[in-house]
């Protein structure tokens, strides 16, 4: 049992650190949930990609470095420790790409992945529908077979990044007569500027259009943009969902970096005798450390060929609650400044605490609500009987 990095991993860390030090934007980019910020973040993706830092864990032919899971974790630690910008293409990189690696064709990978790696094509996810959130199997948008492809109809919602992105991916009901709700679904990709697509941006709590509604009216998708077999979309998507909830969406480096910033804030702002705040700061540090070590244990299991499966639900609940607690502590440390939005001229420079807090509040909701995750933990990890919930 060890936590030692190989010489290669150490070298990889130093490479990443050096590159980030040389390339990091001088000032924080504008919020990626704005048109201006989206463009700035796309440019940053391009810069990352130019030196093969945008998708380190992918094979080299697609723009990656073939990094191991541990190398990827190392990269993420360096990335967040440097305070580097948010990743505007994370829907594509974390959700769609793993599906393409597992279920896509060679043609699809060659066509789609390099453009994703370079930021040329930014992806939105299109999972939810107005009636289907936690109950994803109840989707009603349809894909109808036509010559050479499919026609999409219906409505998607909570489509993150869709306000400014280029393409989207999601599930559509291709066989309305299937005997169970999660059968007869097909996994498709489509352009957001295609004929028949209407994108209505939706502002999140702070007003920024972090997601959108998509209205689809006879949107043509060629066969080449179906992933896996038609009708098998649920099985195809589940590998992505596991990924979304698990290792990749929230890397430990994000929380260790945030905890470090919190400690700095605490030292600047707090009376060290205020043990109530001190204990919460300590809990953030301990929680981030726990999440990091838990992830290294996962990485070790993966390296041994083990499957993570339902354990990813533990990750999801843990990081989402840690993230909220950490940001609430920061707002309390800020005192009267804690009410300010990051757009306020008085807001602490390089803080981002208000936006971070707003973002954290969504954590227990998206990628499978924490209620669903706890059901999964109880049923699959502890073997408790299924109930009606």
């Amino acid at each position: 049992m060890d936590l030692a990095f190989t010489a290669e991993e150490d070298a990889f860390r130093l490479d990443a650190r050096a590159w980030l030090a040389a390339h990091l934007p001088a000032a924080p980019l504008p919020s990626l949930e704005t048109a201006e910020g989206f463009a700035a973040h796309r440019a940053w993706e391009r810069e990352l990609a130019a030196d093969r830092w945008s998708v380190v864990s992918w094979p080299e032919p697609y723009g990656g470095r073939g990094a191991s899971v541990v190398q990827w974790l190392v990269f993420e630690e360096e990335y967040f420790a440097a305070g580097a910008p948010g990743r505007v293409n994370q829907n594509g990189i974390n959700l769609l790409a793993p599906t393409l690696f597992e279920h896509g064709t060679e043609e699809q990978r060659a066509r789609i992945l390099p453009a994703m790696a370079s930021g040329e094509v930014i992806w939105a996810q299109a999972w939810s529908e107005p009636g289907s959130g936690s109950d994803l199997a109840s989707l009603r948008s349809t894909a109808t077979r036509v010559d050479g492809g499919w026609l999409l109809n219906g409505q998607k919602t909570w489509s993150s990044r869709a306000a400014f992105a280029d393409r989207a991916f999601g599930l559509f009901r291709s066989d309305p007569g299937a005997d169970r709700p999660h059968r007869g679904l097909t996994y498709l990709m489509f352009p957001l500027d295609a004929a028949g697509v209407t994108v209505r941006p939706i502002g999140r709590l702070d007003g920024k259009p972090a997601f959108a509604e998509l209205f689809l009216d006879d949107v043509f998708v060629p066969d080449q943009d179906v992933i896996g077999e038609p009708g098998q979309g649920w099985a195809v998507a589940m590998s992505t969902a596991g990924n979304e909830r698990g290792l990749t969406l929230r890397s430990p480096g994000r929380f260790t970096a945030a905890a470090d910033r919190l400690v700095t804030l605490w030292r600047e702002q707090a009376d060290p005798a205020d043990t109530a705040l001190r204990d919460r700061v300590a809990d953030a540090v301990i929680g981030a450390r726990a999440y990091r070590l838990f992830t290294y244990a996962h990485a070790s299991k993966l390296a041994q060929g083990a499957d993570i499966g339902a354990e990813s639900s533990l990750n999801k609940v843990y990081w989402s609650e840690l993230d909220i607690a950490l940001h609430e502590t920061a707002l309390d440390l800020l005192g009267p400044l804690g009410e300010l939005s990051d757009a306020a001229s008085d807001a602490p420079a390089h803080g981002g605490w208000a936006e971070g807090w707003t973002f954290s509040l969504a954590g227990p909701i998206y990628a499978g609500t924490n209620e669903i995750q706890r059901d999964i933990i109880a049923e699959r990890l502890l073997g408790l009987p299924k109930g009606r919930r």
């Binding site: 959130g133 502002g203 007003g207 005192g335 306020a344």
Partner: protein
Amino acid sequence: MQFLLDAEQREFARTLDRLLAAGDTPAVVRAWSTGDHGPGRLLWGRLAEAGVFALAVPEKYEGLGLLPVELAAAFVELGRHAVPGPLVETVAAAALLDRLGVAAAAEEWLPHIAAGEARLSLCLPAAGPYALDADAADAVFVVDSEGEGDRLLLTRESGPVQPSVDPARRLSRPVGGSVVARGPEVTEAAAHAAGLAAFATAAQALGVGQALVERTTAYVKQRAQFGVPIGSFQTVKHQLADALLRLEFARPLLFGAALTLEPADVAAAKVACGEAVYAVARTALQLHGAIGYTAEYDLSLWLTKARALRSAWGTPSACRARVLADLG
């Protein structure tokens, strides 16, 4: 011993509820958030006609006397309908001017406050550097320390708006001002006003929490997943039960504080209402899911206010300290 609102007090609250329900308050809030204060001023006038501001003004200045129970009942409704504006600050400023005893200032402002013709903001040392909605106020009273003691300033320069996490709360650091009074009387009046502000904020927070529980309860009854209303899931039930529990045990602290206005009682009410409203907001958001996370859905008008009210006019930590300090 009659620790319940009487029929007249309950009717007063119902009147405000009807008035606010009829006034499309969400549209007023959204206008206010963009700096359009017109609809908010109209609503302010109607609230004044109903007697809200007169509750904080003594009879000799054309008010109804300081009536804390009625004031609490009113601010619960104001919170419940997410009414924007320097409501707390105006009644606290009235308390300050009344307690200060500078006749000219009292005569100049108090009758106008009671009549709904004056909106005031207020900035006191204990509550941080920001004044709420100073850009919409007729004036801002500022207490600061200078040389030998505290002084009260009056300014009409609100300073640039510093956006809050609640778009309907427009913060700023007021600039300059002319001296109204100096000395220990200012310190004492400011403490009295800060207490009343904490008290009114507690009431407002309780009302916000109540609206969040009401709206969430209604939502989970009609929102279906897996073929049944999500309100039939046991964890949804228990989260809402806990939310109700927090509010129902914060409420008696609020009205208990109304009967004494003792600092420790007000602090206890502020802790309980402030912690409750934030916890309830977390629950409301979680049970709504993504739709609750959007600015266009009206729930957001209460959600964003919850965090701000938890700390406004007395952080939980400061209030807990006060509760113990005053035990004697």
